[in-house]
């Protein structure tokens, strides 16, 4: 019961503020609503007992990426853009495409619900009290089976850092 209340609260907050994020005119307002969505998603992660991802989501997304976005919004002068047309001219095409996509995914999810033997059989989830400690299990898996992707991710971050510095520095 409590699980249900928590899930629907965070899901509602996430979807509502995602919708507001897409429709607000001011980019700073969009950034704030995106932060709300990301925090609500972190709540969903906590409800799924993924404590490490919950903390990583808050520290990395909200504390790192969104601060970067807010800084760039402050660097870029937006008050000209505020008085111009907000959406591009392909609004109706976009709505059509998205509705088609929604219909497709929705029908797929709905029909996979009622073919018991043919789809992928889902086991019953382990009760929350019997899960192993989350961070410990995650670290064991990350530094054992996924060590090579972990190192490659560090190289990727280095490349991104160098690329950002080269892009943003003043040409002389």
């Amino acid at each position: 019961m409590l699980d249900k209340v928590i899930f629907f609260f965070f899901a509602g907050v996430a979807i509502l503020s995602a919708g507001l994020m897409v429709t607000r005119r001011n980019a700073i307002h969009s950034a704030v609503f995106l932060i709300t969505t990301l925090l609500a998603t972190a709540g969903i992660f906590l409800q799924l007992r993924a404590e490490f991802i919950f903390i990583a989501q808050i520290i990395l997304y909200v504390g790192g990426i969104m601060v970067l976005f807010v800084f760039v919004i402050m660097l870029v002068r937006l008050d000209v853009a505020l008085h111009q047309i907000q959406f591009s001219r392909q609004k109706w095409v976009a709505l059509l495409v998205t509705l088609a996509l929604a219909l497709e995914v929705g029908v797929m999810l709905w029909s996979s619900r009622k073919v018991p033997g043919q789809g992928f059989l889902l086991p019953n989830a382990v009760p929350a009290g019997k899960l192993p400690p989350n961070t410990e299990a995650l670290a064991g898996r990350l530094f054992d089976a996924y060590l090579l992707p972990f190192e490659i991710a560090s190289v990727l971050l280095l490349v991104a850092m160098v690329g950002a510095v080269v892009m943003a520095k003043k040409r002389t």
């Binding site: 699980d3 994020m21 853009a81 907000q86 889902l122 996924y146 991710a153 892009m167």
Partner: protein, 100 residues
């Protein structure tokens, strides 16, 4: 935990809202934010399946996706700053240097 379908529908809703943002908005910064929203929607799926199978591999993938999102945001914002310095705009339909 709740049945898996609830998480899938939540993820689908966030993904579609992000897709609408990517296609319709003119401001490139908001388009980048919508891409972050899409990546985040995928993470919900991964963590939900990781929970139902009792296997932390899904959460490892979610961590990698968060690292990718950080790299993508950094490079994208660097490009936006470089472009703004040259053309004084962040609207994507005014980025028409390749058009003649």
């Amino acid at each position: 935990m709740m049945p898996i379908g609830y998480y899938l529908f939540l993820s689908m809703a966030l993904f579609l809202i992000g897709a609408i943002g990517v296609i319709t908005r003119r401001n490139v910064i908001v388009v980048l934010m919508s891409i972050e929203l899409i990546l985040n929607a995928v993470n919900i799926n991964l963590v939900a399946f990781s929970r139902i199978f009792g296997d932390v591999a899904g959460q490892v993938f979610a961590l990698f996706i968060i690292a990718d999102a950080a790299a993508e945001a950094v490079v994208g914002l660097g490009i936006i700053i470089a472009f703004f310095r040259n053309r004084e705009t962040v609207l994507e339909d005014e980025m028409d240097l390749l058009k003649w």
